[in-house]
Amino acid sequence: MRFEFNGNDANVSFSGDLTFADHMMFREIADRLRASTDKTIVIDVANLDFIDSAGLGMLLIAREEARKLNRTLVLRGAKGQVGRMFGLTKFDTLFSVEA
């Protein structure tokens, strides 16, 4: 998986595959997202090609942390297999899922 922060620490884009192998990297990204001060945190997954259940688990951990800090986590632009996984697991009821 590759990631890029978009101008500020509360907006990050993912690309490639998000799987178990990325959990250390995800940890670092989550730390940086937490350090930001914005009320809304955006993870752009438009260029993410694939996510497995461990990847979904990481997003759920991020969701829990955002919830504790009273912030909103937005997942933006899911397509293909990622959109399919979000659909199967009804992620729209857990996150703010935007097109």
Partner: protein
């Protein structure tokens, strides 16, 4: 690892603060053709608590003592009349069981080329001659300590792998055995095949059969996120919970809702399970099912299809409490088949890193010949996904195939089916036999 040596007094009384006492009972073989050298080494070693010593006066005697005494460490002189130190080292290192034995050579040489040759042959370390007591004790202690740690690590790994094997057996006992599968399949007039392989010794997939009544039975497939010990322990939790709520086995929404409430309280954030529960009613020709984020099963209706996903979605188990799940119903006529699978199947990366994906899997099932037995269908989809019998699986993979095709024929010759005692005795023959009987009937 190399703890500094503390001197009580200058030049003597060396003790090692962290070293376990066990190095002092280690077996040391001193090899030297000069009796005076042997006595000197003995005196130094004994003074520092090393008591388990033996001596050899030449190369051949050294090899004999290595066999009988099995030393942990050898102090080896280089120049001996029968065999050179180098020859002894070469012979020892050819034997795999002696690969870890520490060999310290005593040499007066400073020829770097010769020293290189000795290291290449498998020498562990050097002692310069004339022997300096502090150097001798320090080097001996370092090598014995390393060996002790290595042995402890090896014992630990051995113990862990034994425990994992025991855990693996326990986990495979959670899954429906062949007999239960045959019993339920025969009672429902259908055929069943299953495949379950964890990615490591133990995994996070679980499937099971829940007998309900004469007309229906339940089948579930769960997949805990991640794999390994945590996921495996969670499968035991889930198995216990499913059997605790026996009264809900005929109520898919009730069961899945209750499992979610319980798991949401038990599991920390990030741990969850996808779960599919299907109740198969073979009298009403109906599937009732609830999904908690599981890959949708594939249903082929009739001998010529269509083959399609039994679409359903839902929040995985254990994420949040208070989730409302949806019940879905689908006709499941005789001549139809059902394939349940965990995401390890569509997400398996083949030799080129490509995954078959859900759509590829659907096409593969649609292309399977209707005459295939459930096990042959499973083999067919595994091959299509690139999973071979010796493939290393990155994720736990479970596949269950339920087949009503040829049900009418099977039912009409059920008597001859049950007259085949061989089927229950020889695993794998059952499906073949049924197929043959069907053709005869």
């Amino acid at each position: 690892m190399s703890q500094p040596v503390n001197s009580k007094r200058h030049g003597e009384g060396i003790t090692r603060t962290r070293t376990s006492k066990s190095i002092f009972v280690s077996k040391i073989l001193v090899v030297d053709d000069d009796p005076l050298s042997c006595r000197l080494l003995e005196a130094i070693l004994k003074k520092h608590q090393f008591r388990n010593l033996r001596f050899a006066d030449g190369g051949i005697s050294a090899l004999e003592q290595i066999d009988s005494f099995q030393p942990d460490l050898v102090l080896l002189d280089m120049q001996m009349p029968d065999l050179s130190g180098l020859e002894v080292v070469e012979q020892v290192r050819q034997r795999p069981e002696l690969i870890d034995m520490a060999i310290l050579v005593q040499t007066a040489t400073v020829d770097r080329k010769e020293m290189g040759a000795l290291f290449m042959a498998g020498v562990s370390d050097f002692l310069s001659k004339p022997i300096n007591p502090s150097e001798l004790i320090s080097r001996v202690a370092v090598h014995l300590e390393r060996q002790t740690l290595l042995r402890e690590l090896r014992d630990y790994r051995g113990r862990t792998s034994q425990e994992l094997e025991a855990a693996q057996r326990m986990q495979s006992e959670l899954l429906p055995g062949r007999l239960l599968q045959q019993e339920i399949a025969a009672a429902a007039g259908l055929r069943m095949g299953s495949y379950a392989r964890p990615s490591s010794e133990i995994g996070g997939d679980l499937w099971g059969l829940l007998p309900i009544g004469p007309e229906e039975f339940g089948i579930f497939l769960a997949d805990f996120a991640g794999h390994g010990v945590t996921a495996a322990l969670n499968t035991f939790r889930l198995h216990a919970l499913i059997h605790e709520y026996r009264a809900l086995h005929d109520d898919p929404i009730g069961l899945v809702t209750m499992l979610n409430e319980r798991l949401a309280r038990l599991l920390p954030p990030g741990q969850f399970a996808t779960f599919l529960y299907v109740v198969i009613n073979h009298e009403a020709n109906l599937l009732r099912f609830v999904s908690a984020g599981a890959p949708p099963p594939i249903v082929t209706s009739g001998l010529r299809g269509p083959t399609q996903f039994a679409e359903a979605c839902g929040v995985p188990l254990g994420v949040v409490r208070g989730v409302e799940y949806d019940l879905h119903e689908l006709a499941f006529l005789p001549e139809s088949s059902l394939l349940l699978f965990s995401d390890g199947l569509p997400e398996f990366p083949d030799d080129y890193g490509d995954r078959i994906g859900e759509d590829g899997l659907l096409r593969s099932v649609a292309a399977a010949h209707p005459g295939l037995t459930p096990h042959e269908v499973i083999d067919h989809v595994c091959r299509a996904a690139g999973i071979g019998s010796d493939s290393a699986l990155p994720d736990d993979t479970t596949i269950v195939c339920i087949d009503r095709r040829g049900t009418a024929a099977a039912r009409s010759c059920r008597d001859c089916f049950f007259d085949e005692p061989l089927e229950s005795l020889v695993p794998g023959l059952a499906e073949l036999t049924v197929l043959r009987k069907e053709r005869q009937c």
